[in-house]
Symmetry: C2
């Protein structure tokens, strides 16, 4: 495995509404970084809830605990010189700030998409359930989402193709010397 | 930070009764490996219960979940080429086997000490409480501990000084080419 520049790891933290495209982008970024030969770990909010944060619900307190645990693990990866990619709604600005403080080398990516578009995509049928009142505490419907104020990167998945969003993110990593510039970009 | 031999990480997993000396040994091993300049992360069972496994109790099911989560994180560190040190009672052989299977590069250290000696040391006053019936599910008193059948290393903290136990463990890591041999050993 190759070492990163100065052996310094970092975390790319995707935040946004359900259905905004966080997981899709996180996976394509993971693929890209793997192809470049760097150590990378993907932490997907939904996946995490199946093990590391099993038993936690969707109250504010539980969401905060969820984000805290993901930040803890992403921090370890970052300290060890790897790349942690997190895809988690992480609706509360405070929680994301705490994650940033803990991790240090932190790139916040706001996956922006209008609520109406997310609800129309509804890849898991959850918006429909939330609208029927079958799910409580659903972000965007019955639970708040606090927009990032100063994210490092904003991608608009309603306007841009996934490949364009990916290039925007990788471009940021290059210009900030987190990833070495390769000729193909 | 130095890379390990072949960049291959590993986990040293300390198991044993409460009061056997797991945390003490884990900390001195952590210090030793840090001094040698390698990336290392310590996961102490008691510490973990304050964040990563908060809310879990001491039933068999919860203990297994506790060990599963620690194994998950130790596995990440190992994959990234770091050294994970775990100090956790981890009383069930099955759970430890599952951790071994998940992690791969796994060194099980049985911190052996007679129950009567552990209960006499009682560093946290927990044996006394368990004997008075104030703590349920206390390993060694009201909950089982399954001895490792084929641990990589056994240390007898009732007979040996901590430094001797540490040397035994580091000796194993050297002879198995997990740590490079340094002249001072």
């Amino acid at each position: 495995m190759r070492g990163l520049l100065n052996n310094s790891g970092f975390t790319v933290w995707f935040t946004g509404l359900p259905g905004a495209g966080k997981t899709t982008l996180a996976k394509s970024l993971e693929r890209e970084i793997k192809q470049q030969g760097f150590p990378v770990e993907l932490f997907d909010g939904d996946e995490m809830r199946r093990h590391l944060t099993k038993g936690l619900g969707f109250t504010r307190e539980d969401r905060e605990e969820n984000v805290r645990r993901i930040a803890y693990v992403a921090g370890i990866v970052t300290r060890l010189g790897g790349v942690a990619i997190v895809a988690a709604i992480s609706p509360y600005a405070n929680s994301r700030q705490a994650a940033r403080d803990e991790i240090g080398n932190f790139v916040e990516v706001f996956v922006r998409c209008p609520l109406s578009v997310c609800a129309e995509r509804d890849p898991k049928g959850l918006y429909a359930k939330a609208h029927r009142g079958e799910i409580m505490h659903f972000t965007g419907v019955s639970d708040p989402y606090e927009d990032p104020r100063k994210p490092e990167v904003i991608v608009d998945t309603n306007q841009d193709f996934p490949q364009q969003s990916l290039e925007k993110i990788v471009g940021h990593l290059h210009s900030n010397y987190l990833l070495p510039q390769l000729s193909r970009w």
